[in-house]
């Protein structure tokens, strides 16, 4: 019985590992293409690519970071915040993501500054 369980576990690991590696590779291709189009000013296409990347590999911090930047560029600050926070959650030690987030917050705080009345 134990040997069967062990065999099943080995099989599962053998299947899942290449799958996740494949997912990261596919996601990476989307991220790279997104960067190329963003550099040419095609931000909508970049958003599509980076959204695909996060769907393929939800643990890919760079894809969430790039998506946050694109949302910021499009003025969708609420979505940008969610994506930045996801990127930081996935890679809390990444100084570049943190730097992007700090710059974003500076702008976002300005727009959501406490008003006296409205």
């Amino acid at each position: 019985m134990n040997s069967k369980v062990f065999a099943a576990l080995v099989l599962a690991v053998a299947i899942v590992t290449p799958l996740s590696a494949d997912a990261r590779n596919d996601a990476k291709k989307q991220v790279e293409f997104g960067i190329t189009v963003a550099q040419r000013g095609l931000w909508r296409e970049a958003i599509y690519r980076w959204e695909r990347a996060t769907q393929i590999d939800p643990s890919y911090a760079a894809a969430h970071n790039n998506l946050a930047i694109a949302y910021e560029h499009e003025g969708d600050l609420a979505k940008a915040r969610v994506s930045y926070e996801k990127a930081i959650e996935l890679e809390p030690g990444n100084a570049l993501i943190k730097q992007n987030y700090e710059l974003f917050r500076e702008i976002n705080d300005r727009t959501t500054r406490t008003k006296d009345t409205q």
Binding site: N65, I69, D116
Partner: protein, 264 residues
């Protein structure tokens, strides 16, 4: 010897390729559009009515702010700016606040006597509070609005006060070691500094019915070394320059330029 040199060169080349291979980030310029805080679509015109100002006598906060905001709105907003005399808001506050205005005028003095006399001195936030009731005087603003066919009215308070402070400040200093190599090190020094604080409150009033639509307060400060002589008016403009994007963003959309880092 030649072998060692070749090895060093090879390792440098490998290092360069490794660094180049690891360049998995790209700096990219972005422009973040910021939506206006206030829906000004019902208005075609804006009246910067004037401000109740206090603090130093070196700068006329009322006139300078009115002039500056009008010129900024002319170029950076789609609303047509109404050219009109600056309203005497201090007098209006005294006349309007039969009850509240009492704080602004000495006991026993009638409103007429107060307006005939020299303008009251507003030196701090507490002095200013006595006049703030004017912004809630719907009838007064409705009347002003009727005179100018119901524009968006911009008014508020401006407090511009001198500041002086002493304490430790950190600055960077150049040092050279025995080999003549330059380094920059942080040094903490005790300094006496003086400057100004600007505390404006912008109030946006619907000229059609006199109600306040929105108001926002700011506080900015600038300090200089005591040996540096900076005119008050120059400090005022420097501080206003910091606030203007946020003020303009109340009425019109703005684009904030910056750079971010894309990751691979």
């Amino acid at each position: 010897m030649i072998g060692r040199l070749a090895l060093k060169t090879l390792s440098s080349v490998v290092a360069i390729f490794l660094i180049a291979g690891c360049a998995n980030y790209f700096e990219i310029p972005i422009e973040t559009p910021i939506k206006p805080k206030l829906d000004v679509s019902p208005f075609q015109r804006v009246l910067v009515a004037g401000f109740i100002s206090g603090g130093t006598d070196d700068v006329d906060g009322n006139l300078e702010t009115t002039r500056l905001l009008r010129s900024q709105l002319r170029t950076k907003s789609e609303l047509r700016v109404i050219d009109a005399d600056v309203l005497p808001l201090v007098d209006a506050a005294e006349d309007s606040g039969a009850g509240n205005g009492a704080a602004a005028r000495p006991a026993g003095e009638t409103p007429r006597q107060a307006s005939d006399a020299k303008e009251p001195e507003i030196k701090d936030d507490k002095d200013l509070e006595a006049f703030e009731h004017l912004f809630a005087d719907v009838e007064y603003w409705k009347k002003i609005g009727e005179e100018y066919q119901g524009p968006l009215i911009v008014t508020g308070t401006i407090m511009f006060t001198p500041q002086s402070r002493s304490g430790f400040v950190q600055r960077e200093q150049e040092v050279f070691d025995s080999f003549g190599r330059r380094r920059v090190v942080p040094v903490r020094t005790y300094q006496e500094r003086k400057g100004f604080r600007l505390k404006p409150k912008f109030v946006f009033i619907d000229g059609r019915n006199g109600t306040t639509l929105y108001s926002e307060s700011f506080s900015e400060e600038i300090l200089y070394n005591t040996n540096q002589s900076t005119p008050a008016l120059s400090s005022y403009f420097e501080l206003m320059d910091r606030l203007l994007p946020s003020f303009l963003n109340t009425l019109s959309s703005q684009k904030v330029k910056g750079t971010r880092v894309l990751l691979q």
